[in-house]
């Protein structure tokens, strides 16, 4: 079946919904394709808040926010993006409020704000209340509110449609191909402009806060076309996931005063970040926790976790502002944060890297300014690069609304100016070939085992602490897994609701993301932000103050080509010199 829309949005998380809303305001026909019902998107899992310098609780300025973002990203952040972001987000948050988002309030009735890791006043002097929140379910409220607004605007949704291919020819995007879960039918969507907002790929790791559906589909599809993925080596491990489960314990818990303690009850963050202690950025806290564990000061049966201590906080705070996480601890661990210490360990959380874009969301085809006409990206799956080498908490939700909005506006603007491009001759051939390939292998390999091996090996070899030999081994492991994947068994022959075919396809996408990540990480011989190498333990601004662009080598499968892109070291009005990053 064939459909035709001026603007197509892929993904219905925060970024996709925001893009769809703003594209629709541009007087073009818009449709949103999502493999999940929109309210199931993982934006709903975000807890802590959305950072904006509103100054409702304490004095704050966008310049401070910009500085924190750049410093938090270990100076790999593009400063023009950071400046646009820090200014725009203030309006964007008010706009969310005008859409009805039920923010928590200050006693004066304004949007409530709290402290969050890495957010400071006066360029690093002390922690500041910048995170606007709706209890500890900010993402849930954003997702619901944006979906509600789309219902209001009458946005056309194609739910449970899995995008399987992007139609790009001669540097111009012409539409997408999608597989409809309920019928097994393949649809061609013809479009003037396409906005990608399909979220992250945390499921390549064993312990992750990400949903089972976050499998990097669109990144991989982009990458398979020989187009670059930027900064894939930078993957954030959130310091506090519930032990063994990986379910996120929001940073807001530390913002409200929660304290990390090791086996002897010591507040160990005092040693690693004397100024802001438990509120240090995530990469630093994660590494500190892992160091404690490695040095034998962990808690739990396997001594592979540390405790988070809330017991000194008033019960109203724990059950009110932190209701969500209290519920999670009670449900999954049978522990009550009011009186028990909760064991946590770092969990794979957020992809700083992804599809490279410019400030308007336009997708880049190389590191020298080339782009794909009519193709935009936003959200976790895109890399503007706002987050550089390490994302600050609350900046992702901000990224979704600021750059989701921009992508929507510019895509609509573009679509108004151009005619529909021609579709390629046989638009569905790529998808059909992929499905035939999956179904026609020898069928010996169980996809679940391949996935499990990938997740475990990625966790061990390309996790929080990295080194050359481990990653070299991982390159080989991935090659082997990929060749086994050629013979994967799709155990469900049916046409309708074939969830197995989807899972197998997603596994293929994840293997590509893992491949790009491992190659990029192996290539970067320094430690910066979330990328920490035992064999190159310092930051090297002379050689490495640049973005990695990883290309799939289309001629030699399994091989990755690496290019680079400059870092924007200046914003439009402000610029921050790279400095050592201490807190």
């Amino acid at each position: 079946m064939q459909h035709r829309y001026d603007v197509l949005v892929i993904g219905a998380g925060g970024a996709g919904l925001m893009a769809a809303l703003y594209a629709a305001k541009g007087n073009v026909s818009v449709a949103c394709i999502s493999k999940l019902y929109p309210t199931r998107s993982h934006t709903g899992a975000a807890q802590g808040g959305i950072g904006a310098a509103l100054g409702n609780v304490a004095e704050d300025h966008w310049e401070w926010h910009m500085f924190d973002t750049v410093k938090g990203g270990d100076y790999l952040t593009d400063q023009d993006a950071a400046e646009v972001f820090a200014k725009d987000i203030i309006d964007a948050v008010y706009e969310l409020e005008h859409m009805g988002l039920p923010f928590s309030r200050t006693p004066e009735g304004r949007i409530a704000q709290r402290k969050f890791g890495g957010h400071t006043r006066e360029f690093g002097k002390a922690a500041v209340e910048r995170s606007c929140y709706a209890k500890d379910r900010t993402g849930h409220m954003i997702l619901q509110t944006l979906y509600q607004q789309n219902v209001k605007e009458g946005t056309k949704f194609f739910n449970e449609f899995h995008v399987t291919d992007l139609l790009i020819e001669d540097g111009r995007c012409r539409g997408v191909v999608a597989y409809e879960l309920s019928t097994g039918e393949i649809h061609t969507f013809h479009a003037k402009a396409v906005i990608l907002a399909a979220g992250g790929y945390g499921r390549i790791f064993k312990i992750t806060s990400n949903a089972l559906t976050l499998t990097g589909d669109l990144m991989s599809i982009y990458y398979r076309k020989g187009l670059p993925l930027e900064d894939m080596e930078f993957y954030q491990f959130h310091p506090t996931g519930l032990a063994k489960l990986g379910i996120l314990v929001t940073e807001g818990i530390r913002g409200e005063g929660g304290i990390l303690r090791n086996d002897s009850g010591e507040r160990f963050m005092e040693r690693y970040a004397p100024t802001i202690k438990d509120l240090a950025p995530r990469d630093i806290v994660s590494r500190s926790i892992i160091s404690e564990i490695r040095e034998g000061r962990g808690v739990g049966r396997d001594k592979d976790a540390v405790n988070i201590d809330l017991t000194h906080l008033p019960r109203e705070v724990i059950e009110g502002k932190l209701a969500e996480i209290t519920d999670l601890a009670r449900t999954y661990l049978g522990m009550d944060p009011v009186k028990d210490l909760v064991p946590v360990q770092p969990t794979a959380h957020y992809a700083m890297g992804g599809i490279p874009t410019d400030l308007n969301g336009l997708c880049l085809s190389d590191g020298n300014g080339g782009s794909i006409e009519g193709l935009y990206a936003a959200g976790e799956q895109a890399c503007v690069s706002l987050h550089g080498a390490n994302r600050l908490g609350t900046n992702s939700l901000g990224d979704l609304v600021v750059f989701g909005r921009r992508a929507g506006i510019y895509a609509a603007q573009y679509a108004r100016q151009v005619e529909f491009p021609d579709l390629p001759d046989d638009p569905q051939s790529g998808t059909k070939d992929m499905f035939d390939g999956l179904r026609n292998g020898s069928g010996k390999e169980n996809p679940a085992l391949i996935r499990k091996e990938m997740q475990e090996s990625m966790m061990n070899n390309v996790g929080i602490f990295r080194n050359g030999p481990d990653m070299e081994r991982q390159v080989e492991i991935l090659k082997e897994l990929k060749s086994r994947y050629q013979n994967v068994n799709v155990g469900d022959p049916s046409l309708r609701y074939n969830s197995e075919l989807i899972e197998v396809m997603e596994l293929g996408f994840m293997l590509d993301c893992a491949e790009a990540m491992t190659a990029s990480a192996l290539n970067r011989t320094e430690s910066r932000g979330a990328h920490d190498r035992a064999d190159y333990h310092t930051r090297d601004d002379i050689n490495w103050l640049k973005h990695t662009m990883a290309y799939k080598d289309l001629d030699r499968p399994g091989n990755v080509l690496i290019g680079y892109k400059d870092v924007a070291l200046k914003g439009f009005t402000r610029a921050f010199e790279p400095k050592a990053r201490v807190y």
């Binding site: 607004q149 949903a211 063994k244």
Partner: protein, 256 residues
């Protein structure tokens, strides 16, 4: 109904908190529209850890035994609302239900699709009617007066008024546990009423009147017979029946 038994062996259960291992049976109501005319039970025997989620167990069946088993899931921690199922006779989210809470060592977990919506395949049902009734209550903020430059002011108490209703994840556990909804899908259902409550009691919203009109119908709040199944099923602990009663009273006071 036909019954089939399967033995799953040698497969490691999803590792969790190091709680005791249990030997359990999982009995799943299967239905394949391309093969079956009627649903049938299949039973799988396996080892699981006490702290495993029921969703881990179902995943185990799918990944290592029968790949055709079909159900929805995503977040794995009770926030996305995908995996409402009828587990041991009650509606729950499979990812928020621990094995040890529903079964003893050697016992059986039964898993069926939620009721009142058409079963498409195995545990997956057609959610369209559910979202149709969601859309019928105008589930969006309406305030036509020009927005101020900053936020609209709202007191802490007024914000707290929405704390429960806005917590809903649209999982349908409630609506599909309601005895009225089972027999008649024209009832908007508790989930939609909770959503309406979210806006009716938002001090900033201006469409209270219209929403109360929608609620003031045969298909709205008056259809609720206070059976409390919804309240008991809600994984987000929303006191749904209480909210429905508040809406009933709001309609009454507004009309009188």
């Amino acid at each position: 109904m036909t019954q089939t038994q399967h033995e799953l062996t040698g497969i490691p259960a999803a590792a969790q908190q190091g709680l005791a291992m249990m030997h359990i049976k999982v009995k799943i109501l299967r239905f394949d529209p391309e093969k079956d005319r009627k649903a049938h039970w299949e039973t799988y025997t396996m080892d699981a850890q006490a702290g495993d989620r029921v969703l881990d167990v179902i995943n185990e069946v799918k990944w290592y035994h029968d790949q055709s088993l079909t159900f929805r899931r995503s977040c794995m921690h009770g926030i996305c609302g995908s995996d409402a199922m009828l587990i041991n006779g009650r509606n729950r989210l499979a990812c928020k239900t621990l094995v040890r809470d529903v079964v003893k060592d050697g016992g059986t977990i039964t898993v069926e699709p939620i009721r009142g919506l058409k079963v498409e395949k195995d545990l997956l049902v057609d959610m369209e009617p559910f979202f149709d009734s969601y859309k019928a209550i105008m589930p969006y903020f309406i305030n036509e007066s020009p927005a101020p430059a900053a936020e609209r002011i709202q007191s802490e108490e007024e914000a707290e008024r929405m704390a429960q209703s806005s917590n809903c994840i649209l999982c349908a556990c409630c609506t599909t546990s309601c005895p009225i909804f089972w027999v008649n899908g024209s009832y908007l259902g508790p989930a939609s009423i909770v959503q309406a409550h979210r806006f009716i009691f938002d001090s900033r919203d201006q469409a209270t009147q219209q929403r109360l009109n929608i609620m003031n119908q045969n298909t709205g709040v008056w259809r609720c017979r206070t059976a409390y199944n919804c309240t008991e099923a809600c994984p987000r602990d929303i006191p749904i029946t209480q909210l429905i009663e508040e809406v009933k009273r709001a309609v009454m006071y507004q009309q009188s």
